[in-house]
């Protein structure tokens, strides 16, 4: 492995580029603007309200929600599936692109990895919120039954969360060391202490570089199958039942595809916002957005194919309660959200990305917002519409979330944004050392090409002489 920085061999323009990059990344840590403080207070207020709602639910039981015996999963499980889906952003962008050595990935990996960890924490908390008695969570460990897919979920999410946090932290060590060195005495004391502790004495020596490269290599290979398994297992809490509309073999594949789709869409939104706020236009370029948008369009086509495959095979036979499930999804109660999901969340993004006038960052952000709303609706109708199908001779139940559920959902979203904001405020949002490495590698290749060409021209001139 080459040295991480080559300050000595740098030309003046490279030195300027390097200094500018460091200044950009260090800037958020130096202080908070008024708008930033308002934003934090706003999020904290929403979260406080959500905590009150949760306290109210804890005191009074789950009957304060809209969930009852027949529709026993609602907004919480929808949010759980949605947030776990979003967490795939980091896996795909960071691990897959790192494994395939795609150079353009470096400016977006750190934000993607941060989204993964933060979304996983938010998602896992919704499961606890959905429990009538969260104080009995320890029973899951003491009396867990391995025949239950819920236990598989617990296992998969624990491994994924551990691996994701390590995967976020390990490539950040050299940048934390840079923060330690550059910010010493310039920021709040506890902040300095945090950087010094988290940089674990990194001083870029060969043994450290070797250990770091090995650790990143192991995590990169590990995290891809773990991420795929997590969302497959999430789908199995539905698909392992015999309930009509959940009893499907395509669910695992469908959930993984949907997770990558919504994860990349979230990444596009977060990148656009951070780029604007922290002035990262030089590093996160329209090309990055274009590549991500092409990935979105591809995933949208995969999702449309998944819908067609699922509904045509079951609809062709229309056995048992399938007719009820189809009717409520396509023409009755859930028709508005299904068709919004299909046209707004799958078809419209493809059109936005396909046509030149909308093929720009604003267009991609609009497409990503539509995708996330559409995918939330998709999770909602999978959970609620699935449970509404009466499998016995009774009237179908109705479900609508109460203020408690909406408040806790708002708290979850606010918590997700709060963690991301704090991450951007205190940690390096760009993988500086990787970007430098990539930059110098490119410069070296360019220089070699130029030298080669010069050598060729000189030889040709000598031959002519």
């Amino acid at each position: 492995m080459e040295p991480l920085t080559e300050m000595d061999s740098m030309e003046e323009s490279d030195r300027e580029w390097s200094d500018r990059l460091e200044r950009r990344v260090l800037a958020p840590t130096q202080g908070s603007s008024r708008a930033f403080k308002f934003w934090i207070v706003g999020l904290a207020t929403v979260m406080a309200w959500g905590f009150f709602a949760f306290y109210y639910q804890w005191r009074n039981g789950l009957y304060v929600t809209g969930m009852r015996d027949r529709i026993s999963w609602g907004l919480y499980i929808t949010s759980f599936v949605f947030f776990i889906g979003i967490s795939h952003a980091g896996t795909l962008i960071s691990a897959i692109l790192r494994a395939s050595n795609a150079g353009w990935r470096t400016p977006v990996t750190r934000i993607a990895e941060a989204i993964t960890s933060v979304a996983l924490i938010s998602g896992a908390l919704f499961v606890i919120v959905d429990m009538g008695r969260p104080d009995r969570l320890y029973h899951l460990f003491l009396n867990g039954n391995w025949q239950s897919p819920l236990m598989w979920d617990m296992l998969a999410i624990t491994i994924y969360l551990t691996a994701s946090v390590v995967y976020l932290y390990v490539p950040m060590i050299p940048d934390l060391a840079m923060f330690r060195d550059k910010l010493d005495g310039k920021v709040w004391k506890p902040q300095t202490w945090m950087y010094r502790t988290m940089a674990i004495g990194w001083n870029n020596n060969p043994r450290q570089r070797s250990a770091l490269t090995k650790a990143i290599g192991i995590l990169m290979l590990l995290i891809i199958p773990v991420a795929v398994s997590v969302h497959t297992v999430v789908s199995w809490i539905f698909a392992m039942t015999t309930r009509v509309s959940w009893d499907s073999t395509i669910f695992g594949v469908f959930f993984v595809a949907g997770a990558i789709y919504s994860g990349v869409a979230t990444l596009v939104i977060v990148l656009a916002v951070m780029r604007k706020i922290y002035g990262l236009e030089e590093y996160i370029t329209p090309t990055h957005f274009k590549y991500l948008a092409y990935l979105l369009a591809t995933m949208a086509l995969v999702m449309i194919y998944g819908n067609a495959s699922e509904f045509i095979t079951t609809g062709f036979k229309m056995t048992g309660e399938e007719a009820f499930a189809f009717r409520q999804l396509f023409v009755q109660d859930f028709a508005p959200i299904y068709w919004f999901y299909f046209f707004g969340g799958l078809v419209a993004p493809i059109l936005i990305i396909a046509f030149r006038p909308t093929r720009n960052i604003s267009g991609f952000v609009v497409a990503s917002v539509l995708i996330n709303i559409g995918m939330f609706f998709e999770r909602y109708f999978i959970v609620v519409a699935g449970l509404r199908v009466p499998l016995m001779d009774y009237e179908p139940a109705s479900y609508f979330p109460t203020w408690v559920e909406w408040s806790i959902l708002a708290c979850g979203v606010a918590g997700f944004l709060m963690l991301l904001t704090l991450f951007a405020r205190f940690f390096p949002i760009l993988a500086v050392w990787e970007m430098k490495e990539e930059h110098f590698e490119r410069r070296r290749e360019e220089k070699e090409l130029v030298d080669l060409r010069v050598e060729q021209i000189q030889k040709e001139l000598e031959a002519v002489k």
Binding site: N205, I216, L222
Partner: protein, 376 residues
């Protein structure tokens, strides 16, 4: 054209009369012997789940055996709340007019059955009877499943072991980075070690959780003799009893014991036990049992709809979560006051049922359903 004679005008009337007389004679001739036919059924009064049951039916006509006739054995089956006669077996009578049916008892509920005989004219004669099913401790056990030796909890442990080893290898990289530092930062060495310890602890914890319950799915281990009892009885309609969106209790049973949507013609109502008598353990006095039928039904409905059944099982003999409430050794169970106290306080992590959720009267009905009339 000739005018009809007097003689010829009487002919249709005579033909009609002779037809009437002959058809009546024929009907009497046919129906007479059939009405004299008789079916004698020899069936066990009490059976156990899983045993092969033999039912012998003999059909005679005025003492003569009727050989070569088809007979059917049926029971009352219920699916999705609809009940009807379901054919279980059929056979042709032998020279002595007898047919022996053999079937396996798979359900733990009293069976209403009948033997049906159809004679050569299509006339049907039925002989109904009832079979009581004794508690044999174990419901029907299926041996379905495909045993695949390679798939088991050990395989799961190997996969998880590889995953955690890789995570720990990555974290040991962090430890190595800290250890290789040329800088003098004493406390920074603690973080990598703490991270390694935390990950190792989580991995170890997961192994302990898996090893403490290494049971695999019944489909992969048919020899494990899993109890595949149905989660609920099909056939009894219960209205939802519980908290509605506005926080009120819907469909509350009142002390006058109104029927809780238990259909009158339902089969299997009160069928948890061997008969429709109150109490899962049969009361000694059948008259008393009949008197409390209404209360029994309401108690049964409450037992199901309040979701006692979810933990304590459909026969109240315990399940994975909840302990047995009734036992053959102690048919009277616990007293009503102790029962009420347990429900109000929720021992051993059982949910607490307040007065709003379950009134004392309702608790009394459940108690009555489980143990027979209070104080008996």
């Amino acid at each position: 054209m000739n005018a009809p004679s007097k003689h010829s005008s009487k002919r249709p009337a005579l033909i009609l009369l002779s037809c009437l007389v002959s058809s009546t004679a024929l009907l009497i001739g046919l129906a007479g012997p059939a009405s004299a036919a008789d079916i004698k059924v020899d069936a066990p009064q009490e059976v156990t789940v899983g045993s092969d049951i033999e039912v012998t039916a003999v059909v005679t006509d005025a003492g003569d055996s009727l050989a070569g006739f088809e007979m059917f054995l049926s029971y009352v089956g219920t699916v999705g709340g609809k009940s009807g006669w379901v054919e279980l077996a059929s056979g042709i009578t032998d020279e002595s007019g007898a047919v022996t049916f053999v079937y396996e008892q798979t359900a733990y509920q009293a069976e209403r059955m009948r033997v049906e005989f159809v004679d050569s004219d299509g006339t049907t004669l039925t002989s109904p009877f009832e079979v009581a099913v004794l508690d044999s401790g174990q419901l029907h056990t299926s041996e379905a499943g495909v045993s695949l030796g390679i798939i088991g909890v050990w395989w799961l442990l190997v996969v998880i072991g590889i995953v955690w080893t890789m995570v720990l290898l990555a974290v040991s990289g962090i430890v190595k980075v800290g250890r290789s530092s040329d800088l003098e930062h004493g406390p920074v060495r603690a973080l990598p070690r703490f991270a390694f310890g935390l990950v190792a602890f989580t991995a170890l914890g997961m192994f302990i959780v898996i090893l403490s319950r290494p049971t695999m799915h019944a489909n992969l281990d048919p020899s494990a003799d899993f109890d595949r009892r149905p989660p609920a009885l099909v056939g009894t309609d219960y209205d939802y009893v519980g908290l509605s969106n506005d926080g009120e209790v819907a469909n509350r049973v009142d002390s006058s014991v109104q029927a809780l949507g238990v259909s009158e013609d339902c089969v299997g109502c009160g069928g948890f036990g061997a008969s429709a008598s109150p109490g899962l353990i049969q009361a000694d006095n059948p008259d008393q049992a009949e008197l409390d039928e209404e209360a029994h039904r309401a108690g049964e409905a409450l037992y199901v709809t309040t979701n006692c059944v979810g933990c304590h099982g459909i026969d109240a003999r315990g399940a994975i979560v909840g302990p047995a409430l009734v036992s053959v050794d102690d048919p009277n169970g616990i007293s009503l006051s102790a029962f009420t106290e347990e429900i109000r306080e929720g021992p051993k992590d059982m949910p607490v049922y307040s007065e709003t959720r379950l009134t004392d009267d309702e608790i009394g009905l459940i108690h009555e359903y489980l143990f027979g009339p209070s104080g008996s």
